[in-house]
C-alpha cells in the first residue's frame, strides 16, 4: 500500500514537472523582443478612420498606455526608439502630421508648395503656437532643428538619413521657411510627418543636443498636445493636456505611460483593465485578445514588408534566375498560415497595397513552385551533385543565413531554410541576438542571405532602400545595383503631379517584381487593442496619437 502511494506521488510529481516545463517553454517563445528595437517604429496603416460613436463621453478622462523602456524625450536622439516615439509624438509637433488616410495634413505648417524646378519647398507656419515654457514658436526653431541638428552629420540624429536630399532650411520670415534641396523631392511633406519633430531653439542653442539631459530625460519643452508633468524612472511617464495647444482639446486630459518591459505583462494589464490600449504585433497573442469581450481589437495594416536579402556583391546572386528560383521555392502562404497565424498577406513588391493609388497588382508573381525553382536553377547552370546539392562549376550552392532574435524572424528563417533545402540548396542558419545581428548584417554586410523587414512612411518613394548609391553603406541591404531602377526612382522624386508619380511607381513595381532586388515575403497585419469604452481612429498607434483630440472615452 505504502509503496503504491509513493509511486502515485512520484508519477504526479513527474507529470507536474513536465507540464510546468512545457508551459514554461511556450511562455518564453512569445517573449523574446528586446527592450528597444533596432528598427524604426510603428507606422501608418490603411483603413480609414472609423466614425466615433456619438455617445456621451467622459470629459477630462485619464488613459493609461504602455511603453517598454525608459524614454528619451528628444525625438532626434540616436538612442530613442520604439519606447520613446509614442511619448514624443504627443509632446512635440512636426511641420506636418498624418491624416487618418495617411496623407500629410497641416500641423506646425499651414501649407506647403514646391518651386517649379522642385528644388525648393516654401512652407508657411502657424503664428499662434507657443512652446510649453511660454516662448513663441517661430521659423527660427525650424531652421535650428534642421540645420543644427538633423543635417549636422557629426550628430547622426535618428532618421536623419531620410533628409539627405535637403541642403538647408532658410527662414524667409518668422512665419515662413524654405527647404532648399540638393535634388527634387516630391515626398518631402510626407517625410516631415514621419517623426520629424521641431525642437525649441532657445533651449538647445549652444548645447550638445544629446547630452542635454535636463531636456532629454527630465523636462522637455514642446508644442505638442500634451506636456510632461511627472516622470518616475523605470515606472511611469505622466502627461497632461497642454493648455496652450493650438489644436483644440478632446476627452483625454491625462495620459499615463506605464513602463512595462514584458509584453506578456502588458497584455495581462490590458485584460485586467489597468491599461487602456496596446499595439500587438505578435500573432500568437491576437486571437486571445480578440476573444476578450471587454476589448476592441482593430486589425490594421502597417506599411511594412518582410523580405529575404541576397548579398548581391557576390556574383552568384547577381543572376536574376537564381533569385527568382529561390523565391519560387518559398511557400509564403504556408509561412503566413503557420508563423503569422494568418495575420499577413503575400507581398508582391516594396509598395504596400494600402497605398491604393500607387499599388500595382499586375506584376510578375511567384506562387510556390519547387519544380519551377529547380528548372530555373538548371537554366542558371546549376546541377544536383552526388550529395544532392545544387552545384555550378564545382561550387555547391551553400548559403550562410544569420537570423536575428526578434519577433517572427527566426521561425520564418527556419522555414525558408527548409524550403531551400528541398530544392538542393544548402543553408547554414545561425541564430544570433538582435544587436549582434545588426552588426553582422547591416554594419559588416557579412551574410549570404537574411530575412528581415522594412518599415517606412506611407509613401511610394523607396529610393533609400534601392538606389545604387546606398548599396554597401546605406539602407540598400542586398547591395542591388541597377541604373535603370535608379533612374526611375529619381524620376519619381522629380515627378510633379500625382499622375506622373503613379506612372513611375507602377514601372518601379514591374521592375522590382521581375528583378527581385529583395525576395518579397509578406505584409503583416498588426492589431491595436483598446478597452471597449475607448474609441480611437482605426489606424496604427502613432497615427491615432496624432488624432488624440478626436478620441472618445465613453462612460
Amino acid at each position: 500500500m505504502k509503496k503504491s502511494r509513493s509511486a502515485l506521488t512520484a508519477s504526479i510529481a513527474i507529470l507536474l514537472i513536465i507540464a510546468l516545463t512545457l508551459a514554461g517553454c511556450s511562455s518564453n517563445s512569445g517573449n523574446n523582443e528586446p527592450a528597444a528595437s533596432g528598427g524604426a517604429a510603428s507606422v501608418p496603416a490603411s483603413e480609414s478612420a472609423s466614425a466615433p460613436a456619438e455617445s456621451e463621453g467622459v470629459q477630462d478622462a485619464t488613459i493609461t498606455l504602455a511603453t517598454n523602456a525608459d524614454p528619451n524625450f528628444n525625438p532626434w536622439s540616436p538612442t530613442g526608439f520604439v519606447e520613446s516615439e509614442p511619448i514624443t509624438e504627443l509632446l512635440f509637433d512636426g511641420l506636418t502630421a498624418w491624416g487618418t488616410d495617411y496623407q500629410p495634413i497641416p500641423a506646425l505648417a499651414t501649407d506647403w508648395t514646391p518651386s517649379d524646378d522642385g528644388l525648393t519647398w516654401t512652407i508657411n507656419l502657424r503664428t499662434d503656437v507657443k512652446w510649453s515654457d511660454g516662448e513663441p514658436f517661430t521659423a527660427d526653431d525650424v531652421v535650428y532643428t534642421f540645420n543644427e541638428i538633423v543635417l549636422k552629420k557629426d550628430l547622426a540624429a535618428a532618421n536623419s538619413s531620410n533628409f539627405v536630399a535637403v541642403d538647408k532650411v532658410v527662414a524667409v520670415s518668422p512665419s515662413q521657411v524654405q527647404f532648399v534641396l540638393k535634388q527634387a523631392w516630391s515626398s518631402l511633406p510626407n517625410y516631415l510627418a514621419w517623426f520629424a519633430k521641431i525642437l525649441p531653439k532657445h533651449i538647445f542653442e549652444g548645447q550638445d543636443p544629446w547630452n542635454l539631459t535636463s531636456f532629454n530625460k527630465e523636462k522637455p519643452v514642446g508644442t505638442g498636445s500634451y506636456v510632461l508633468t511627472k516622470y518616475m524612472a523605470g515606472q511611469y511617464v505622466e502627461l497632461e493636456r497642454n493648455p496652450n495647444y493650438f489644436g483644440g482639446t478632446g476627452d483625454v486630459a491625462k495620459v499615463v505611460f506605464n513602463i512595462v518591459p514584458d509584453i506578456n505583462s502588458q497584455v495581462a494589464q490590458l485584460m485586467s483593465g489597468s491599461l487602456s490600449m496596446i499595439t500587438v504585433e505578435d500573432p500568437n497573442l491576437m486571437d486571445n485578445l480578440k476573444s476578450n469581450p471587454n476589448l476592441t481589437v482593430n486589425e490594421v495594416s502597417d506599411n511594412n514588408y518582410y523580405w529575404v536579402a541576397l548579398d548581391q556583391s557576390q556574383p552568384r546572386f547577381q543572376d536574376v534566375k537564381l533569385r527568382q528560383a529561390l523565391l519560387y521555392a518559398i511557400d509564403r502562404e504556408s509561412i503566413i498560415k503557420g508563423v503569422l497565424k494568418g495575420y499577413g498577406k503575400v507581398a508582391t513588391g516594396p509598395i504596400n497595397p494600402m497605398m491604393e493609388k500607387f499599388y500595382n497588382p499586375n506584376v510578375q508573381t511567384y506562387a510556390y513552385d519547387p519544380e519551377k525553382a529547380k528548372s530555373l536553377l538548371e537554366e542558371a547552370g546549376y546541377k544536383l551533385n552526388s550529395d544532392g546539392i545544387m552545384e555550378k562549376d564545382g561550387e555547391p550552392l551553400e548559403i550562410d543565413m544569420p537570423a536575428g532574435q526578434y519577433g517572427t524572424l527566426v521561425q520564418a528563417s527556419q522555414l525558408v531554410q527548409q524550403y531551400w533545402q528541398k530544392i538542393g540548396v544548402k543553408v547554414n542558419l545561425q541564430v544570433i541576438d538582435w544587436n549582434s545581428y545588426v552588426q553582422r548584417v547591416v554594419s559588416n554586410r557579412d551574410y549570404d542571405a537574411t530575412l528581415c523587414w522594412w518599415r517606412a512612411p506611407v509613401d511610394p518613394d523607396i529610393l533609400a532602400y534601392y538606389h545604387s548609391n546606398s548599396a554597401g553603406t546605406g539602407n540598400n541591404i542586398p547591395g542591388y545595383k541597377n541604373p535603370a531602377l535608379d533612374k526611375l526612382l529619381e524620376d519619381g522624386r522629380k515627378a510633379k503631379t500625382e499622375e506622373e508619380r503613379v506612372k513611375v511607381y507602377n514601372d518601379v513595381q514591374t521592375m522590382t517584381a521581375e528583378e527581385l532586388p529583395y525576395l518579397y515575403l509578406w505584409n503583416p497585419t498588426i492589431a491595436v487593442a483598446t478597452q471597449k469604452n475607448l474609441i480611437v481612429p482605426k489606424t496604427t498607434f502613432i497615427v491615432a496619437e496624432d488624432h488624440i483630440t478626436e478620441w472618445k472615452v465613453l462612460k
Binding site: 511562455s27 493609461t64 544629446w210 515606472q235 495581462a268 539602407n475
Partner: protein, 315 residues
C-alpha cells in the same frame, strides 16, 4: 581581528579589480555594439559619427584605463544610452532592489526556517517529504513563468493586486500601495529562495538534534518548542547564517528576471536593458556594485559567525 579585516578587504578590492577587467574586455570585445550604432536603419556614415561621439574609436585598453581612472575617483562615467551619470542611475535603482530583496529575504526566512525545523523534527514523516517535495518544486519552477501565472491569477482573474511597477502611477507614496505592489514579485522571488533556506535549515537541524544536549534537554522535560527553537536552533543558526551570505547573489540574480516580469524599477531591469543595448558603462557600474555587495556580504557573514558562536575567532 583587525588584521584579518584588512586582509579580507584588500582581497575584496583585488577581486573587484579583476572582475572589472574581465567584464570590461568581455563586453567590449563581444559582438554587437551600443544600440545607437546597431540600429537597423543607420547608414555607414551615421555609425561612424556615433562611434566617434561615444569614444569607441579609441583602443579598448585606453578606454579601460580611462574608465578605471574615473572609477577610483568615484566617477563611473555616463550612460552611452541616456547620457546620465551611471552613479545617478545606480542611486535611483539600487534602493528599489534593496526593498525587494530585503522583503524577500525576511519573508523567506520567516517561512523557511520554521519549515526547515519542522521537516528536521518530523524527519522521515509525510510532513518532511511534503516540505522537501515543495522545495524541489520551487527550485524547478522558472520564475518568469511563475510570475506570469501569479499575474494571471491575482491580477486578471481575481484582480486584487497590481501587476506591475512599484506604486500606482500618478499617486503619492503610500506604504499600503508599496506593499500591494511588492506582494507578487516578493512571493515569486521567495519561491526561488525558499528551497535553499528550507533544505539548509533542515540539514543543520538534523545534525544538531541528534546531539547529547538536546537529548538532555528533552530528558529534563522541557517542552518541544523550547528544545527545538531555543536550544537546538540557536546552534543550527551558524550554518544558516552562512547560507544567507551565499544566497544574496542568487537573490540579486533572481531579481533580474522578476524585476522584468513585474516592471519593478530596480537594478535587475537596469542591467538587462544595459546589456540589450550594449550600454557598456552601465553594465560596468551594475557589475561593480553587485560585485561589491557580494564581497561585503561575505565578509559580514564571517563576522556574524563570531557573534552567533563566540568560539569562532579570526586571528
Amino acid at each position: 581581528m583587525s588584521r584579518y579585516l584588512v586582509v579580507r578587504v584588500s582581497q575584496g578590492l583585488l577581486t573587484l579589480l579583476l572582475v572589472s577587467i574581465l567584464t570590461f574586455f568581455l563586453i567590449n570585445l563581444a559582438p554587437g555594439g551600443p544600440s545607437a550604432i546597431m540600429n537597423f536603419q543607420s547608414t555607414a556614415e551615421q555609425r561612424e559619427a556615433l562611434t566617434k561621439q561615444l569614444g569607441l574609436d579609441k583602443p579598448v585598453v585606453q578606454r579601460y584605463a580611462e574608465w578605471l581612472g574615473g572609477a577610483v575617483q568615484g566617477d563611473l562615467g555616463n550612460s552611452l544610452d541616456s547620457k546620465q551619470p551611471v552613479g545617478e542611475l545606480l542611486a535611483e535603482r539600487f534602493p528599489n532592489t534593496v526593498i525587494l530583496s530585503a522583503a524577500t529575504l525576511i519573508f523567506t526566512l520567516m517561512i523557511g526556517i520554521p519549515l526547515g525545523v519542522l521537516a528536521a523534527v518530523k524527519r522521515g514523516s509525510w510532513i518532511d517529504r511534503l516540505i522537501t517535495f515543495m522545495s524541489t518544486f520551487g527550485m524547478a519552477i522558472p520564475e518568469f513563468w511563475l510570475g506570469i501565472l501569479l499575474i494571471i491569477f491575482f491580477a486578471v482573474i481575481h484582480p486584487i493586486l497590481p501587476i506591475s511597477g512599484m506604486m500606482t502611477a500618478g499617486s503619492d507614496f503610500s506604504l499600503v500601495d508599496l506593499i500591494k505592489h511588492l506582494a507578487l514579485p516578493m512571493f515569486t522571488l521567495s519561491i526561488l529562495m525558499l528551497p535553499n533556506i528550507v533544505r539548509f535549515t533542515r540539514s543543520a537541524m538534523v545534525d544538531v538534534i541528534s546531539l547529547d544536549y538536546v537529548r538532555t534537554a528533552k530528558a529534563k522535560g522541557l517542552g518541544a518548542y523550547r528544545v527545538f527553537f531555543q536550544h537546538a536552533l540557536r546552534n543550527a543558526l551558524v550554518p544558516i547564517a552562512a547560507i544567507v551570505g551565499l544566497i544574496v547573489p542568487i537573490l540579486l540574480g533572481g531579481s533580474v528576471v522578476v524585476e522584468n516580469v513585474f516592471g519593478w524599477p530596480g537594478m535587475g531591469r537596469l542591467a538587462v536593458q544595459a546589456a540589450t543595448n550594449r550600454d557598456y558603462t552601465v553594465v560596468m557600474g551594475v557589475t561593480i556594485l553587485v560585485g561589491a555587495i557580494v564581497i561585503v556580504t561575505n565578509i559580514l557573514t564571517d563576522l556574524i559567525y563570531t557573534v552567533l558562536d563566540p568560539r569562532i575567532r579570526y586571528e
